[in-house]
C-alpha cells in the first residue's frame, strides 16, 4: 500500500469520527473531491479543527512521528490545503515527507 493510499484511509477514518457528531443529513462523504473548507466547504472552522486533530492523531499513530497539519505554512498558502479531501491528503503527504524522507508507509 502506498503512503498516499494510507493517508487517504486515515482521513476517511477521521471523517467517520467527525460524522458521529453531525446530524444524519449533514454527514460527509468519503471522497477525494469532497469540499471541506472555504466557499463550497462542508465544514465550519470547529468541524475543520476536529477533522485535522483526528487526522493528525492517526498520522502520528501510523507513522510514529509528531506531525502538525496546521502551521503558518499551511495557513499562508494561497490555495488552502484544507479545501478538499484530496488537497488535505496531498498536504499531509508533503508534511510527512519532510518528517520521514524516503520511508514508506508503516516502516
Amino acid at each position: 500500500m502506498t503512503r498516499e493510499t494510507v493517508i487517504l484511509r486515515l482521513i476517511y477514518e477521521a471523517i467517520d469520527v467527525v460524522n458521529e457528531g453531525l446530524p444524519p443529513g449533514a454527514t460527509l462523504e468519503k471522497a477525494p473531491e469532497l469540499a471541506l473548507f472555504g466557499a463550497e466547504g462542508r465544514l465550519d472552522s470547529l468541524g475543520l479543527v476536529e477533522l485535522l486533530a483526528e487526522t493528525e492523531l492517526r498520522l502520528q499513530d501510523e507513522f510514529s512521528v509528531s506531525v502538525s497539519l496546521v502551521d503558518d505554512k499551511a495557513l499562508s498558502q494561497r490555495n488552502s490545503p484544507f479545501r478538499s479531501v484530496a488537497s488535505l491528503a496531498n498536504y499531509a503527504a508533503e508534511v510527512l515527507g519532510s518528517e520521514l524522507p524516503g520511508r514508506g508507509a508503516g516502516e
Binding site: 469520527v17 470547529l46 476536529e50 486533530a53 483526528e54 493528525e56 492523531l57 502520528q60 499513530d61 510514529s64 512521528v65 509528531s66
Partner: protein, 235 residues
C-alpha cells in the same frame, strides 16, 4: 466507571506535589502516567513514568501515543511540572526567563493540546493547571515565575472556552507555599515576611490540601466549573 478504568496524566511527578498526586492516584487504582526530566523511583503497578521535558514536543506526543494505544482514553491531566526563579528582574538573564516560560507555559500548552485530542473522543475530561499565590501577591523578585504563571491563568480561561465544546473543563490551582524543593532554598525569614505574613492563614499548605482541590475539579459534579483559578490562603 470504576476507578480502575480511569486514566490520568500528571506532569512533574518525580518529587514534590506531583509525586504526591501520582502516588495518590496510582494507589486509588487509576492508570497513572507521570513524567519528569529525571527518572522516578515510584514503584506501583498502576504507575508508568516517562523521562521527558514537558516542552519537548516529539517526546510529549510519544507519551500520548502510548496512552492512546494502551487505553484509548484519558480522563484527567494535571499540569503540575513547574520551575521558579528567585531573582530581581534587573539581574535575571533572558535564558532564565526562557527556561521558566518553556516549562511552565509551553509545557502546559502542549500537554493540554494533546490531552484534549484524546478527551474529546469521550466528550469528557478534566484539566488542572498550576499557578501560585505569587501571582495575586505580585511578588517582587519573581517576575519570570509570576509572568509565566499569569500566562497559565490566562491560557486556562481561553482553553476553558475552547474545550467546553468537548465536555472538557480547564481550571487552575494557586497554592500557597508548600514544603517542597521549590521553596526549600528560600531563607525562612524571607518567606515569612514576603509571603506567609500576607496570607489570611499565615502558614504552609499541606499536600493533602492540594489533592483536595484537584479532586474537586476532577469530580463529576464540577462539570460546569471551568476557567477558574482557585487560590489558597485568602490572598
Amino acid at each position: 466507571m470504576s476507578e480502575h478504568d480511569r486514566v490520568i496524566v500528571i506532569t512533574g511527578s518525580r518529587k514534590g506535589i506531583g509525586r504526591h498526586l501520582a502516588e495518590t492516584f496510582a494507589r486509588r487504582g487509576w492508570h497513572t502516567y507521570g513524567c519528569s526530566r529525571q527518572p522516578s523511583d515510584l514503584d506501583d503497578e498502576h504507575y508508568t513514568h516517562a523521562c521527558l521535558d514537558v516542552a519537548d514536543e516529539p517526546a510529549v506526543t510519544q507519551l500520548f501515543r502510548t496512552v492512546r494505544a494502551r487505553h484509548g482514553r484519558l480522563d484527567a491531566l494535571v499540569n503540575n511540572a513547574g520551575i521558579a526563579s528567585m531573582n530581581l528582574a534587573m539581574t535575571t538573564p533572558v535564558a532564565t526567563l526562557e527556561r521558566v516560560l518553556r516549562t511552565n507555559v509551553v509545557g502546559t500548552f502542549l500537554f493540554s493540546r494533546e490531552a484534549v485530542k484524546l478527551m474529546r473522543r469521550q466528550r469528557h475530561g478534566r484539566i488542572v493547571n498550576f499557578s501560585t499565590i505569587a501571582v495575586p501577591l505580585k511578588l517582587e523578585g519573581e517576575s519570570a515565575y509570576v509572568a509565566s504563571k499569569a500566562a497559565v491563568e490566562a491560557m486556562t480561561s481561553v482553553l476553558a472556552k475552547e474545550y467546553a465544546a468537548y465536555g472538557v473543563t480547564v481550571n487552575t490551582i494557586g497554592p500557597p507555599p508548600i514544603d517542597t524543593d521549590l521553596v526549600r532554598g528560600i531563607p525562612p525569614q524571607n518567606l515569612a515576611e514576603r509571603v506567609l505574613d500576607r496570607l489570611a492563614f499565615p502558614r504552609f499548605g499541606e499536600l493533602a490540601e492540594i489533592t483536595h482541590a484537584v479532586d474537586f475539579f476532577l469530580s463529576e459534579r464540577a462539570g460546569m466549573m471551568t476557567g477558574q483559578t482557585l487560590y489558597y490562603g485568602g490572598v
